[in-house]
Each structure stands twice: as structure tokens, then as C-alpha cells.
């Protein structure tokens, strides 16, 4: 640019003192703001990581070391025995096959429950957002209020309902229970998400002759990845971590992992084997943890899409 040359030489000639600040404002690495910001973050991060650290460290120690040492010190001698024991040999009563059995039970419970609950809730949300019919809102409000009902209150009525439809104690019964209790929050998420989609899209599809299911399957679903990620995360963690329903609505040979964890932790054989307990605890939490670590970013995005736009 020709303009550039008119003023520049004069300025360049003038000393830096006269011209004053030049270029980016200097930002020191250790400015007070940064020290405060990162300091706070690191302290809080430490608070959040402490329990995990203790769990891991303890699970790698032998019992004698645990008895003597302090819980924060790293293991002097790393042993994986507690992990092996927690996974395959820890006892509850006469069953000494650790968490391994519960793991597969949990998988068998979680997968169909997650699929069913999300299938139902997404259709609900879609119907509520785009195909409102008279009375739909009433049911929705009931559902939302239902989210607040403590599960304990509903145990007994559900026992009766399941008994009457002949599903008590079966895997299908438990899957239904999970779907029922996952419904309020999931429906809310899906409804919010679908409502925030442009109305024109929906109208255009209808003008093109697509019906209820057509629009849902061909238009809405392909655009709903973020919210499905959120739903999957919430359900996988919720169902995997469930204890109450797992213990009440199943029988011992189909106990999920959490119930077995509780059994192992509470089956105190003389001394509490903290290392085994910790290993068992980590093993039980592993699946949801992995799900989180993998999909953390999508989770935040999905939450923004489903939860924030009210």
C-alpha cells in the first residue's frame, strides 16, 4: 500500500520513547491474573484428583503397607494382587468369583436399558416438540415432577406392577424400570433439543410429505448426534452405577457390578481389605469413566444444545 510509506519513516525515526508502546501488550507468564487463575485451577484440580489418586495408590499396595503407611504415600512395592482378587476371586458368601460375573451382568443390563430408554425418550421429546397433542403437556409435567420422586418411594408400587405383568426378577423387568426412571430427564433434554431446531426444517419436510416417523428418522435423527451423546453418557453412567434397582429387581445370578461391589466391600472378612476394595471400586467405575474421557467434549456441546436452551 502506498499509504504505508507516508507516515512510517517519520515514526521510525522518532525514538521508541516518544512513540510509546508498540505491538502486543506485554503479558507476563506470571502475571497476578495468571497466578491466581492457574493457581486456583491447580488447587481445585488437586482436590478433585485426590480421591482418585488415593484409590489408585491404595489399590496397588499390600495390606501390611496400608496398615503402616499413610494413604497418600505412593506404594513402596507395587502389587497387582488386589486387582486380580477384586476381579476374579473376592468372595461374597460362597461365591468367590469377584466382580467378573457382575461386569457381564452389568453389560447385559446396561446395553438394552440404554437403548430402550433413549429410543423412548427421543421419540417422546420429538412428539412433544413438534407434534403436540392435547394433554401432552400434562403428561410431560407429570414426568418432570416424577424426576423428583425419590426412588425408594416407588420401589413398592413397581414391585406390584412388575409382578402383575409377570416381569419381576427378570432382566426385561429391570430394563423397563431403568427406562421409566431415565425417561423424565431424557425426555426433557430431547424435547429442548428438538424445539431448538429450526421450525422451517420440520415444515419443509411436512410439505414434502414426510410423516411422523419419516421426519423423525430421516431429518431429526441425523441432526441429533450431540444430544444422543449426552443421553448415552447420562444413561450409561446412571444405569451402570445404579445400585438400588439392581439389588431389588434382580436375583443374585444377575446382580450388576455395583451390587457385587457393595457385597465385596461389605463382606468384611476380619480386616477390611482396603486395597481390594479400592481396586474393586476403580474397576466398577471404569466403564463410565472411559465413556467420559472419550466423549468429554461432545458432552459439553450436547449439554449446551439440550439443557441450556430452555
Amino acid at each position: 500500500m502506498s499509504m504505508a510509506n507516508t507516515a512510517a519513516p517519520a515514526i521510525a525515526a522518532a525514538s521508541q520513547d516518544i512513540a510509546g508502546p508498540y505491538g502486543p501488550k506485554p503479558r507476563r507468564m506470571f502475571s497476578r491474573r495468571n497466578i491466581f487463575l492457574y493457581g486456583t485451577l491447580f488447587v481445585i484440580a488437586a482436590y478433585y484428583l485426590l480421591p482418585l489418586y488415593v484409590m489408585v495408590v491404595t489399590s496397588l499396595k499390600g495390606m501390611p503397607e496400608i496398615r503402616l503407611g499413610n494413604i497418600f504415600s505412593p506404594p513402596l512395592e507395587i502389587t497387582f494382587e488386589p486387582w486380580v482378587k477384586a476381579w476374579s476371586t473376592a468372595c461374597t458368601g460362597l461365591n468367590c468369583d469377584g466382580l467378573s460375573r457382575g461386569f457381564w451382568n452389568s453389560v447385559r443390563i446396561t446395553v438394552p436399558s440404554v437403548l430402550l430408554s433413549i429410543a423412548i425418550a427421543s421419540v417422546n421429546g420429538y412428539a412433544l416438540a413438534n407434534w403436540r397433542f392435547k394433554g401432552a403437556d400434562t403428561f410431560f409435567i407429570i414426568l418432570i415432577v416424577g424426576a423428583f420422586i425419590p426412588y425408594q418411594v416407588m420401589i413398592y408400587p413397581i414391585v406390584i406392577i412388575l409382578r402383575e405383568i409377570g416381569l419381576y426378577g427378570s432382566l426385561s423387568g429391570l430394563v423397563i424400570v431403568h427406562s421409566i426412571f431415565g425417561m423424565p430427564i431424557l425426555t426433557l433434554l430431547f424435547r429442548n433439543y428438538f424445539s431448538s431446531m429450526p421450525e422451517e426444517l420440520f415444515r419443509a419436510a411436512r410439505v414434502d410429505g414426510a410423516g411422523f416417523w419419516g421426519i423423525f428418522l430421516r431429518i431429526m435423527l441425523p441432526m441429533s448426534l450431540p444430544i444422543f451423546v449426552v443421553a448415552i453418557i447420562l444413561q450409561v453412567t446412571g444405569i451402570w452405577n445404579d445400585f438400588l434397582f439392581g439389588v431389588v429387581y434382580t436375583r443374585p445370578d444377575t446382580y450388576p457390578m455395583t451390587v457385587q461391589l457393595n457385597n465385596i466391600v461389605n463382606s468384611v472378612q476380619g480386616v477390611k481389605e482396603y486395597n481390594v476394595n479400592m481396586a474393586a471400586t476403580i474397576l466398577t467405575g471404569l466403564v463410565p469413566l472411559i465413556v467420559y474421557f472419550i466423549s468429554g467434549k461432545l458432552f459439553v456441546r450436547g449439554i449446551a444444545a439440550g439443557a441450556v436452551k430452555g
Partner: protein, 295 residues
């Protein structure tokens, strides 16, 4: 496009209704039906099995003179206030910190969020262990030479409910942070610029401009926190089993214990009904305002 191919409104509604059958059944049969059933049997003296032997308000009378129920209510209020205030404050602060265009944002966010992936049972166990005075934090600090250091919140009746909240906050603030972060990211960038041009300090911008703008997020968050508060159970069981004594009892545990341990369904149902009633009083007006009058 010919007219005849356009969906018939009646048929369209029918489809939506068919699709909503699971929701209608859940809401109608399970939630409403179960609730009515519970309320009905709360007026009976059912013990182990539900029986329609009405005793009027006896169960309620007994409920409100039982010290454990009163303590449970008090604990729930304290726990609720703490969770609500601290979850919101900490969750928002964390989100605000993460929103400062910091490095390693993903790492920090993952760290703050991971406890949410863990069950209350796991959370409870770990914190019970950390807070155990015989080998937890207190033990370690004393081992460092500070002999009078005392930190045993789970073993001290007067503060046990606060001790339980430590674990609750550890577990729950990550999600709140996520919600808040999502909310912050949804704020128009120009608002921040305008505030900077106006010379409004950052904290004032948050307090007077950004937070009021995040009302919907706060409401969603509030609902999530509140629903968790009423339900608090596992955390208490895993950490203290209601102890020491009955100092950390909560209503949900009272319901469960009296329904199943004490084999006094009537009493459990009466307590359930009280909980339901409070939920309804708080939630229904909100739900109606929030969802009922839209569009």
C-alpha cells in the same frame, strides 16, 4: 405436490399419540398410579404387606413426633442449602475460570467432571476413607507433626451432614460446571465487548450482566440439583449409614428403612407422602410456568 398426499391431521396426531404411549403409561400408571397408591396406603397400618386397614392420620401423627424424622428433615434442609449454594457457586466459578481462554481447558474440564461418572456408592466409600480420622486426612496431618489437628467430619454428630456434603459437592459440581460453561459459551461475544468498552470490571460483568442473562441455565441447573437433593440416599448410606447415631439421617433413608427394615409400610408410605407433597408444592408451579404455558 398433490393435496391428498399431505398428512391428515387426525392421522398425524394419532401417530404422535401412539409414539407417546410409553410416556403416557409411565406418567399415568407409574408416577400418578404409584403415587396415589402410596398416598392411599399411608392411611393404613400396613406392616410387611400392604393391607387396606385404615387408621386415619395415625401414621402421620407418629411421623411428626419421631425424632429421627425431624432430624432427617433438618438434615435435608441443611444439606439442600449447602448443595444448592455451593454447587451453584463452585460450579459457576469453575466454569468462569475455564472460560478465561486458559490452556489445557480440556484437561481441567475432564478432571472436574470425572467424579460425576462415579456412583454415589463409590464416592461415598472413597470419602469415608479419606475422612476417617484413624488413617485418613487427619491421621496424615497428625503424622506430619500437627498433633492437635482434628478433621473428622463423618464422626462428629454436629457436623456430619457437612462432611457428607463434601463428597456430594465433589461428585456433583462437575456437571454443574458443564452446564454453566455451556451457558457462558452461549452468551453473545458482543456483550463482553460492550462491557469492556464500558469499563465494567470482569466480576461486575459476571454479576450484573452475564448471570442475569443465564437465567434459563440456572433454572435447569437448579432443577437438576434440587432433584438430587430430595433423593439423597446412597451417599449417606455409603459414608455413614446415617450415623453417628442418627445424626446424618435423611428422609429418603427413613422411607426405605421404615418400609423395609422396620416392616412398617404404612409409616414408610406416610413419610413418602410427605416427601412427595413437598416436591409437588415446590415443583408443580415451576413446571407449569416453565413448560405448561409455552407457545
Amino acid at each position: 405436490m398433490s393435496k391428498s398426499e399431505r398428512p391428515n391431521p387426525l392421522f398425524r396426531n394419532l401417530n404422535a399419540k401412539v409414539a407417546s404411549i410409553p410416556m403416557i403409561l409411565t406418567a399415568g400408571v407409574v408416577f400418578v398410579g404409584g403415587t396415589l397408591w402410596t398416598v392411599l396406603y399411608s392411611f393404613t397400618n400396613s406392616k410387611l404387606l400392604p393391607r387396606l386397614n385404615f387408621v386415619g392420620l395415625d401414621q402421620y401423627y407418629r411421623l411428626w413426633v419421631t425424632p429421627r424424622w425431624l432430624i432427617s428433615i433438618e438434615n435435608l434442609l441443611i444439606y439442600g442449602a449447602i448443595s444448592l449454594v455451593f454447587s451453584l457457586v463452585i460450579g459457576f466459578l469453575l466454569a468462569a475460570l475455564l472460560d478465561q481462554k486458559i490452556r489445557f481447558e480440556d484437561t481441567f474440564r475432564t478432571i472436574f467432571l470425572y467424579p460425576f461418572a462415579l456412583s454415589f456408592i463409590v464416592t461415598g466409600l472413597v470419602w469415608q476413607w479419606l475422612l476417617n480420622p484413624d488413617f485418613g486426612i487427619q491421621h496424615v496431618v497428625r503424622g506430619l507433626g500437627w498433633d492437635s489437628f482434628s478433621f473428622d467430619p463423618l464422626y462428629n454428630s454436629s457436623i456430619v451432614i457437612y462432611g457428607i456434603s463434601i463428597a456430594a459437592l465433589w461428585q456433583g459440581t462437575g456437571l454443574i460446571m458443564c452446564l454453566m460453561l455451556a451457558g457462558l459459551r452461549g452468551i453473545d461475544e458482543d456483550i463482553w465487548k460492550a462491557a469492556r468498552v464500558d469499563g465494567i470490571p470482569m466480576w461486575k460483568t459476571y454479576l450484573f450482566i452475564v448471570i442475569p442473562m443465564m437465567r434459563p441455565v440456572f433454572i435447569t441447573t437448579l432443577v437438576i440439583i434440587a432433584s438430587g437433593i430430595v433423593k439423597v440416599y446412597d451417599l449417606v448410606v455409603a459414608q455413614t449409614s446415617g450415623g453417628p447415631g442418627i445424626a446424618s439421617e435423611v428422609p429418603a433413608k427413613y422411607v426405605y428403612d421404615y418400609m423395609f427394615f422396620a416392616q412398617n409400610l404404612g409409616q414408610g408410605f406416610a413419610a413418602s407422602t410427605m416427601m412427595l407433597l413437598s416436591v409437588v408444592i415446590v415443583i408443580v408451579p415451576w413446571a407449569y410456568l416453565e413448560f405448561g404455558r409455552r407457545k
